[in-house]
């Protein structure tokens, strides 16, 4: 997504050069949020999720199914898996994340899934069906969404997670408890403050063992325990690759010695950037609006270097300060969140009732750092402008 959006923005800002998008998946760029929602719920074609190529003058070359194996900043080139070498003047790293997977003593693979790609979603869709016993590891957004969708397909769904309260650390305890209550009402079973210690079965999983001694029947085991950044191809270039690609507030890559690289950028999930809005240490944000906004910003930085003075107001721009935006659909309710609720030292129920629709305000030292709720979308949307800038 970040790759395509960067190309689109570069053209929009009249970048005159050649653009080449390199991807290791065989698919053209597509939208991931439906993977845990509509694409699991119904049989859908790739066309339902692919990003439309909106502009006739995108004028971009695509090389797909041939990932980048190694970057060489010294030679200003990347080498692909096939051995092909490509030179660049500017390089945008938008390789995103992959699902983390655990290693168990009996490390069975049959009946085991994770969800990051279109192909992952198809595989889960093919395996599930009414009456299947599903165990999901992790009670984050993806775990909860998949649980809701698969419950809707008639599966029996259990969630095992280390937290006491799903999303409690992100949205606060009362909000998290309410999400759990809603899932339980729908028949989802929670095993919280718990862990899977081993898998049981010969070739395919039949049970999972929990740390508290219980054993759960399981046909389909889905790991939704977070992601790791795809940075291996960047190694060997003295970059800071701890949890993503560290960038400065203009999204330029930062070297281990602290200096910025003027022609290498991080965009989307992979970028660990300082968000000057919240004065935080640099952090990755795995939200959909980040590839969009970071690609626009990066395109401006590139055009600024290539055609100085070409666009008004371009020469002096503040540091990148996006407002993180998140939504999540589970059963018939949807969560909408703006800002950084997890930074709050005070959480207030602003409107509504927990059992129905509601909005929480998240404050840090008295300033609004986030708003989130269920339903009440227009009110939440109105409040986003009150979040600190």
């Amino acid at each position: 997504m970040g790759g395509l959006r960067t190309a689109e923005s570069l053209r929009r800002y009249k970048y005159p050069g050649h653009i080449h998008i390199l991807g290791d998946e065989w698919h053209m760029p597509y939208n991931r949020p439906p993977l845990s929602k509509s694409l699991l719920a119904q049989d859908q074609e790739f066309a339902q999720v692919s990003f439309p190529i909106k502009s006739a003058d995108l004028n971009t070359e695509f090389t797909l199914g041939d990932g980048v194996r190694q970057l060489s900043m010294e030679q200003q080139s990347v080498t692909l898996q096939s051995g092909k070498k490509i030179q660049f003047d500017f390089l945008v790293a938008a390789t995103g994340l992959r699902s983390k997977k655990l290693v168990f003593p009996n490390n069975l693979q049959g009946g085991r899934f994770a969800l990051r790609t279109f192909d992952d979603a198809k595989a889960i869709r093919q395996a599930v069906g009414s009456g299947k016993e599903v165990v999901i590891l992790g009670s984050g957004f993806i775990g909860l969404e998949v649980a809701a969708t698969l419950k809707g397909l008639g599966c029996r769904v259990k969630i095992v997670a280390m937290e006491d309260i799903p999303l409690g650390l992100i949205l606060g305890e009362p909000f998290g408890e309410e999400i759990r209550r809603r899932h339980e009402t729908k028949g989802i079973e929670f095993y919280l403050n718990n862990r899977v210690t081993d898998l049981v079965g010969n070739t395919a999983i039949t049970h999972v063992k929990l740390v508290d001694g219980q054993s759960l029947t399981c046909d389909i085991f889905i790991e939704a325990i977070g992601s790791a950044a795809n940075v291996e191809w960047l190694e060997g270039n003295e970059l800071d690759l701890t949890d993503g690609l560290l960038t400065d507030s203009s999204l330029r890559a930062v070297k281990s010695n602290g200096t910025s690289v003027s022609n290498l950028f991080g965009v989307g999930d992979i970028a660990r950037f300082p968000n000057i809005r919240f004065e935080l240490p640099p952090r990755r944000i795995e939200h959909w609006n980040i590839p969009l906004e970071s690609s626009r910003r990066t395109a401006r930085e590139i055009v600024r270097q290539v055609v100085p003075g070409s666009i008004e107001g371009f020469e002096s721009e503040d540091g990148f300060n996006p407002l993180p935006t998140f939504w999540s659909d589970q059963f018939e309710f949807s969560i909408l969140s703006y800002g950084e609720p997890r930074l709050a030292d005070e959480i207030r129920l602003l409107e509504g009732n927990l059992g129905e629709e509601f909005i929480f305000a998240y404050l840090r030292e008295g300033s609004l750092v986030g708003v989130a709720g269920i339903g009440m979308k227009s009110k939440i949307n109105e409040m986003r402008k009150d979040i600190i800038k």
């Binding site: 939208n31 659909d329 979308k377």
Partner: protein, 63 residues
């Protein structure tokens, strides 16, 4: 003139588009999306941004 079409089967009424192009999109009192099906050139960039930011990729713009 530009023409705007929202696929209402896809739209989840998040209202992200409202922020990008407030003259064209709004959420009504029932939190449902309402929009103008055509707009003049001055709205072009805003509507394109709205189309980019729509999480469901439900907004089509015809020029």
């Amino acid at each position: 003139m530009i023409t705007i079409k929202v696929d209402m089967d896809k739209c989840q009424h998040y209202g992200q588009c409202v922020y990008e192009a407030p003259n064209i999109f709004k959420l009504n009192e029932n939190d449902k999306l309402e929009y103008l099906a055509s707009a003049d050139e001055t709205e072009r960039e805003n509507v394109k941004s709205a189309s980019d930011i729509c999480p469901m990729q439900a907004i089509q713009v015809f020029e």
